[in-house]
Amino acid sequence: MSKLVLRNISRVFGDFTAVQDFNLTLQEGELVSLLGPSGCGKTTTLRMIAGFMAPTAGTIELDGQVISSPSSSLPPEKRQMSMIFQSYAIWPNMTVAENVGFGLKVRKVKADEIRRRVIEILEVVQLGALRDRYPAELSGGQQQRVALARSIVVKPAVLLLDEPLSNLDANLREEMRFEIRRLHDEFKITTVYVTHDQAEAMVTSDRIAVMNKGRVEQIDAPYALYGRPKTRFVAGFIGRTNFVEGKSNGDAVHFGGFSVPKLALNADGAGLPEDVLVSIRPQGIHLLKHDPGSSGRCCAQGSVLRRSYLGEYWDYHVALPGSAQPLRVTARPQEVFQVNEPVWIEIDTSQLTVIS
């Protein structure tokens, strides 16, 4: 059964529509990210799930019960959820143990039971030794772990995370991504995770909902999102990509220097408009010194316009005759081409994605 259902949710502030017609269903134990640039409405959505804000249209249901609707909204304290905030919101007047035990105390759990569970969860987040410290004496990463422990220990129906890693430095952020995923795998709490960092979303999530200007662009697993972006925004927002415009003609679609059979782009070959826009990732293109010959692959000739060496890979800009935009190509470090050198490009047609 679905755990959390957001049905046609909208939120309007004055003339500004922060969230429009948002639909999302979370299964029990699933971790879904809301990913998008700042101001896209993801935090607003999260705060509506938490109950800090009522939607102006639509309903939110938890375990089949309506908890939010425009007319009334269950207060946050009755939702059995927990949340990790951007600022962590660790209470500076309480020790680590008091912070973590707070939710249990509110739930009227017995004192020795609270103590046992607090010790247990602090071991899980590797803070056992810091139990009696005050938050001011902790580092950013440790505060983050306190926030995690505090929200997990109550075994919430839904766990909400609001850009929890945005205040950490780069190394710590990477470490905490895995930590969050590890804890999710251990406790299987249904989780909504808000972030603007795609790597964070990819590492932690089962599914990602990409949002833009208050609307959902696409909801998919990370792999599908990267490999098969449905909209131009998603293709551009998740990783780097090349957009190539083409015209469909007969059985094939003609792009600047090459053409692709319709069947290769679209399973049934039908339903393609006349003007076709495709996305191809830089690593879906290979550069070759020589014409590979007509082996059924999609090839074209071009020349290197610009190149940069980034250690882990080469970043080439390749100009194709008949194509306005140069293609970006990622190549392994040993594949060296000079600027202005004529090259053959080979496109993996299975990685071409039609953008609607």
Partner: protein, 590 residues
């Protein structure tokens, strides 16, 4: 990894069915935020404390006392006699002269302490703080001892030295009143000007210096214009302070046989009280105050004086050379007039068997203070009352202002309602204490809300009067707390009250204690509203001090005054410990 595309436009039918199951009313009740009634209560209290008295004041000014029918007779009565109009003019003269004198006192002192290498800054600073501590009416008592006709110390000194028949000074006169009012208002000018000067960077003066302008010219043509808005704002503030003052004019103008607006208002309350006439007569005071506060805000908020908003750059004191001695002399003269001389004679009187006998050891006694505190029922009760009323008022003001600040900052009500709430909370700032008192009298002397004669009318009037101080502090305190700290409590299952009790309150403890002191101190010495609202069983020290002034028992007056000063000093020291040295200045941050 399996890719499952899920776009749930249609939900499972089961979910819909169970969602519709609970009754609409039950859901409403579960969803209701049960803390709402507290916010409603705060609004009601605010209406009771601020709106009702002012509305009643307006209504009463247009009513016949017996029938309540509409009339303009009150206004005719209030402005038809030349005596009454003279009092208005006197107030104007008093306000302008006192404010002018305040500038002469305050601006040079601010400049000396902020920008120059004058020696003895510490001493000047302490005595200005001391001037803050003395209630203005106690200063007036001090000056009566100093410059009362014939018996005043200064007159006796002059007679001694010159052999004149009569002393030259008479404090019971307009110039005397102006001097006394200025002595206890100039610290406002000092604080305003000094904080503006503290923001002017030395580089601006250097720029003028390098273009060939001397120190004096630079000061007059660059530095002074930069702080002019602050000085102007301070001028307005002390003008308003001077015309709203009751204690000093009552002590000095009444024996001098002239009236100002506040003393005239008081006369309208002599039995039988003419509330309607008093209300009508209070209107110019109220209107001028509202208008000038508006003007003052416009001046201080004006853009263009960039140096006043940013942090100042490097600052170096201006070397004065030999001129530092005359400047120090002037500073000490001001401090002598406002602090040293009055304080010395008050201490002498409080500790003397008879003040006229002079500064000798055999004249020394602690009897006055002992008698005031312990033996005399009247003064002992008044001391207890002062403490209790001021504490209760501070507690009420802080609780209420905290509620309002919380409501407004957390946007628990719409933005418009929030603006109205904070406006109402700040409104008493522009209502002179004496006008507020008349409003309270008009509103709460009759059933169903008969508060007159009880302690509550004093407590509530004090709380209302100092509500803006409490609000400025509460607001700053609430703003300093990240709302996510409370959200975290709520999402973990705590109610809003749990969040306030367990997180907000512990974090605000210190700043609220500071706010308490900032309300408590002025409430212990408040006279202008108390004088209209006290009854025989609810006297406070300030009222008693005023009441006893016509008996001529100056030893007792001085003893009461010293007790007030002592209370103030103790609480200021506690405030310093709690909040740091600058906590007194936050009052002006409103």
């Amino acid at each position: 990894m399996a890719v499952e595309v899920s776009q749930p436009g249609v939900a499972p039918a089961a979910a819909v069915a169970s969602a519709a199951a609970p009754s609409a009313l039950g859901q409403r009740w579960r969803h209701l935020d049960k803390s709402a009634w507290v916010w409603l209560l705060a609004i009601v209290v605010l209406v009771f404390l601020v709106v009702n008295p002012i509305v009643r004041l307006l209504i009463v000014s247009f009513q016949l006392p017996d029938t309540g029918a509409f009339t303009l007779a009150n206004y005719v009565a209030a402005y038809s006699r030349s005596r009454y109009v003279d009092a208005l003019v006197n107030s104007l003269v008093l306000g302008i002269s006192a404010a002018g004198l305040c500038l002469m006192f305050g601006v040079p002192l601010a400049w000396a302490l902020s920008r120059t290498d004058m020696p003895g800054k510490g001493l000047v600073w302490v005595s200005i703080l001391g001037t803050f501590v003395i209630p203005p009416y106690l200063g007036a008592v001090g000056w009566i001892l100093l410059a009362g006709p014939n018996a005043g110390w200064l007159n006796r000194l002059v007679i001694e030295l010159t052999g004149m028949e009569q002393g030259p000074f008479n404090i019971y006169s307009m110039p005397g009143l102006v001097l006394v009012v200025a002595c206890y208002s100039f610290p406002y000018v000092f604080v305003f000007t000094k904080s503006a000067l503290d923001l002017v960077s030395s580089e601006m003066e250097d720029a003028a210096n390098i273009l060939g302008s001397g120190n004096l010219r630079t000061t007059l043509s660059v530095t002074l214009p930069l702080v002019l808005p602050a000085i102007l704002a301070a001028f307005i503030l002390v003008f308003l302070e001077a015309i709203a003052l009751f204690g000093s004019p009552a002590l000095l103008a009444l024996p001098g046989r002239f009236h100002v607006v506040t003393t005239q208002l008081w006369q309208f309350f002599e039995f039988p009280p003419k509330v309607g006439v008093a209300a009508a007569y209070a209107m110019p005071l109220l209107c001028i105050t509202v208008f000038l506060f508006w003007l003052q805000r416009r001046i201080t908020h004006r853009k263009g004086y960039v140096s006043l908003t940013g942090k100042g750059g490097e600052r170096r004191p201006i070397p004065l050379g030999p001129w530092k001695w005359p400047l120090l002399g002037y500073c000490l003269l001001v401090c002598t007039l406002s602090f040293f001389m009055p304080m010395v004679v008050i201490c002498q009187a409080a500790l003397a068997k008879a003040w006229g006998r002079g500064f000798t050891l055999d004249n020394l006694t602690l009897n006055n203070i002992y008698f005031t505190l312990f033996e005399n029922n009247l003064t002992r009760n008044a001391t207890i009352n002062t403490f209790m009323y001021a504490s209760a008022a501070a507690l009420i003001a802080i609780t209420l202002s905290l509620c309002v600040a919380y409501i407004v900052n957390r946007e628990l009500v719409g933005r418009k309602v929030g603006n109205v709430l904070s406006f109402l909370t700040m409104a008493p700032f522009v209502i002179p204490g004496i006008v507020l008192a008349i409003g309270f009298y008009a509103a709460y002397t009759r059933p169903p809300l008969l508060l007159y004669g009880t302690a509550w009318i004093l407590i509530l009037a004090f709380a209302t009067r100092f509500l803006p101080i409490a609000y400025a502090n509460s607001n700053a305190a609430i703003r300093s707390i990240n709302p996510e700290l409370e959200d975290a409590v709520r999402i973990l299952g705590g109610t809003r009250f749990t969040a306030i009790r367990r997180v907000v309150a512990p974090l605000l403890k210190r700043s609220l204690a500071g706010a308490f002191i900032l309300v408590f101190i002025p409430a212990t010495r408040e006279l202008s509203s108390a004088i209209f609202l006290y009854s025989i069983n609810t006297q406070v020290l300030s009222v008693l001090l005023f009441d006893k002034s016509d008996e001529g028992n100056f030893e007792m007056l001085a003893a009461i005054g010293l007790i007030l000063v002592f209370i103030t000093v103790v609480f200021i020291l506690i405030g310093f410990r709690l909040m740091g040295r600058d906590f007194m200045l936050r009052r002006s941050a409103a």
